[in-house]
Subunit: 332 residues, 2 copies
């Protein structure tokens, strides 16, 4: 490519769905979850083939980001507004600092295994050559209802045009998607700043783009909705492409993910941290201390710091309800 490849790592969230490991003061990206380093450190390391690496975060996390990723440049968002506004801000600021380039935007809290670089370089080359907004798609290994699906259209070899996006389908629809060759939307994207800002200007993020161009990010963020880049830009944009990943991926989006990632004991229990299971089977244990379980099955038992959570593994997503209640009570 005739332009620099710049990685933008998004590290402004807290990762509520792994409560109680994650809390307002214990964001997911700063924890290792069984890896050698924090997820943020792993992500920045994984992106080290880029010409530059930026981490976008909130001001309160900036110091921790510098500790976990000393080699990366740090950008701080004026306000937390989900990935749509965050990526508009990143595109604008990085074009100011680096000039025309191609951005690879990636979450700081996903697990990746395999040749990340090859896929990202392909995605960036496609973005630079075609002017598309490119998402990296994952070949589904199950009919997951918690993910977004990408329907591939015309096949261009390295990439497919995107026909449509669907967020969180029901089980039956998910099964049909898997059988029809849809891909999971991994939340890892490639585009040039100019193409992305042009697409964002056609959406409800237009006034944010204008405020940034007028040199007034604070005003831009003040009135800006909290909205994901998928909803805000990708679903309505023309010229969206998907590049299938050649690596394995997991978003560690809920506690049941660890069942896929950790080795089970003879009874089907997996443990992140120390655990003792007696007549207990098919549970997920996670703790920074020690969990003991007797005679229970198919549960998540997670205990970190002074907080404990127990729920059926199949209802792992319901941690959201817990976090919602705790937030209301100022306890998250």
């Amino acid at each position: 490519m005739d332009r620099p490849l710049v990685a933008v790592v998004l590290a402004g969230g807290t990762g509520t769905r792994l409560y109680p490991a994650t809390r307002s003061d214990r964001p997911k990206q700063f924890q290792p979850f069984g890896g050698e380093r924090s997820m943020l450190a792993e992500t920045v390391r994984r992106a080290n083939f880029a010409d530059e690496v930026y981490v976008l975060t909130r001001p309160a996390f900036a110091e921790s980001v510098r500790e976990h990723a000393p080699s990366a440049a740090v950008l701080t968002e004026p306000a937390p507004r989900d990935t749509g506004p965050a990526l508009v801000y990143a595109a604008h600021r990085i074009r100011e600092q680096v000039g025309e380039c191609v951005l690879c935007c990636l979450p700081s809290d996903h697990r990746v295994d395999g040749d990340f670089q090859a896929t990202v370089e392909t995605a960036c080359a496609v973005a630079a050559r075609t002017g598309s907004l490119v998402t990296i798609g994952i070949e589904p290994t199950r009919a997951e209802t918690g993910y977004g699906y990408v329907e591939p259209g015309a096949d261009h070899g390295e990439y497919y045009e995107v026909e449509s996006f669907t967020e969180k389908p029901d089980a039956e629809t998910a099964q049909r998607y898997v059988e029809s060759g849809y891909l999971w939307n991994s939340g890892t994207f490639a585009w040039t700043p100019t193409d992305f800002l042009a697409a964002a200007s056609e959406t409800e993020l237009r006034s944010l783009v204008e405020a940034l161009e007028a040199g007034n990010p604070e005003r831009g963020f003040e009135d800006c909705p909290s909205i994901s880049v998928d909803y805000a830009v990708l679903e309505s944009a023309e010229n969206v492409a998907v590049v299938p990943a050649s690596y394995e991926w997991d978003d560690l989006g809920s506690w049941d993910a660890f069942e896929r990632l950790l080795d089970a004991d003879g009874e089907g229990n997996v443990a992140l941290g120390e655990a003792l299971a007696i007549d207990a089977s098919d549970n997920v244990f996670a703790s920074d201390g020690h969990v003991a379980a007797v005679g229970v099955e198919d549960l998540v038992i997670a205990s970190f710091d002074d907080r404990t959570l127990v729920l059926p593994k199949s209802e792992s997503q319901r941690v959201r309800e817990v976090v919602e209640r705790l937030r209301k009570e100022g306890q998250f």
Copy 2:
């Protein structure tokens, strides 16, 4: 009575069945479990009608005992050997220090509600007058299989002669006992030192009694079995009496006890400490932090310090298996 009433509070154990609240360095008697003071402090306060109060403990706990019960005299056992040897030691030492008296021996980790003094004074008077070994019996409120039962014999008004003791009957036998007027053996006893030591001399504790009388407690404890006073002395002694209690009692012997002692929410959950239940019913939560449970029922979820335990409420006794395993691994 023409002799002093001396209370002996047994505070040498750890109370393993409330793990993880209780651990080797967190004995049960030093914790409040929802009360205003520690169980030991409550017990000593409850015994304040006695002429003297002694606390018998192990050397490692002596300092904590002085903090929790500054008004009590402290005796330390040469070695932990269960209640049989402990009560022989207490009888011997207190007779040396106080002279002939009547002892009321009571656990430091039971919950009592009602007129404790009246029952104990009756039990002590019966012991002094008849020379019997007296146990205080509790009228059963359920067919509990975890307790010892006392079969009452001849009725002497204030007390019954004891026909027999049975430890931990099966459910059917327990039901029959309850219907036949048997009493729970509460582990609270009254006797004179001389009567008790004479009875102990007829048992496998004879060599301990002799070593104490020879002024050599260390040697006595070295060869001494770990055995409860019920097994060692009461079950074989002649002249054993039971005085029915006029108070309510619970030994807080396992986590399911809290279901009887705490007020339930609308879904039948009880909580010792902070808890959040969503679509969860009939659970026992206990924590020094915060427990959240979603969609589970009939569980014990207990989390203290860095340890967590989850088991079905109906299997609360199986915490023993956990403690046994942790002990083997040096983690209790």
